[in-house]
């Protein structure tokens, strides 16, 4: 009757993130709500101008952590479709570095699951951002939290 098979699309990309394909993947008769979060390269931060961001990753581990986070989300909420895409390399201003999408029966769990996934991705998934500023400065951005070992 109701479709129970969860599907996920998890990937690290060298090319631009395609929101249209992500949305098509998320559409399912089982869902009433789809929440999509897209992180984009912002030009200005506290008066400093960013020229571009570049992302590097420990790729096989990043993919495993992304799968583990989707496992956790599926255990907490009735998530029918999940999409986790992260672009690597240079991401110009206003373009997408990350896309998180979930499809659930109702809207509250769509918001909760997508918020959980982006918050956890930013702590757990081994991807790092290098920021190039207009004054020529180029720095590795460090997150605020150490990642946690699972079950700790």
């Amino acid at each position: 009757m109701a479709e129970n098979s969860n599907q996920r699309w998890i990937n690290l990309l060298q090319e631009p993130v395609d929101i249209t394909s992500a949305y098509r993947f998320l559409q399912t008769p089982a869902a009433g709500g789809i929440s999509i979060f897209v992180g984009t390269t912002r030009q200005w931060t506290d008066g400093q101008e960013t020229i571009s961001l570049a992302y590097e990753s420990y790729e096989p581990m990043a993919l495993k952590e992304m799968h583990r986070l989707v496992d956790l989300a599926e255990n907490h909420w009735p998530v029918h479709r999940t999409c986790l895409l992260h672009r690597l390399g240079k991401v110009p201003i206003a373009e997408a570095s990350v896309l998180i999408g979930v499809a659930t029966p109702h809207r509250p769990e769509a918001f909760k699951a997508s918020r959980f996934l982006i918050d956890q991705l930013k702590i757990q998934v081994p991807i790092w951002k290098r920021e190039l500023f207009s004054d020529g400065q180029e720095i590795w951005i460090q997150g605020a939290n150490l990642p946690d070992p699972p079950n700790s």
Binding site: G39, Y55, E56, S57, Y58, P60, M61, A62, K64, H86, S97, V98, I118, L121, K122, I123, Q124, V125, P126, I127, W128, K129, R130, W140, I141, Q142, G143, A144, N145, L146, P147, D148, P149, P150, S152
Partner: protein, 84 residues
């Protein structure tokens, strides 16, 4: 115990500071994740300022500093991530 050799992958700021993508450490004693990071900081002083914000990944999973390492483990030092 014979000598164990650990190849440690580096990323982000550590790779930039050391200008290499990995380092190799040898030990003749059993060693924990925390012990290996301490040893890395001794042998590569530019890493030392980052010791308190390092997490070890073993076989592509984060581990507690108290975890014992095995010969042949795939090891990486992870500083706080900033994807997204």
């Amino acid at each position: 115990m014979p000598t164990s050799s650990f190849k440690i992958r580096l990323f982000s700021v550590l790779k930039s500071k050391l200008k290499v993508a990995s380092i190799e450490l040898k030990t003749t004693e059993e060693i924990t994740a925390g012990g290996l990071m301490d040893l890395a900081c001794e042998q590569y002083p530019p890493m030392a300022p980052y010791r308190s914000i390092m997490r070890l990944a073993v076989n592509q999973k984060y581990v507690q500093d108290s975890n014992r390492l095995q010969d042949g483990d795939e090891i990486a030092i992870i500083t706080p991530v900033s994807g997204g």
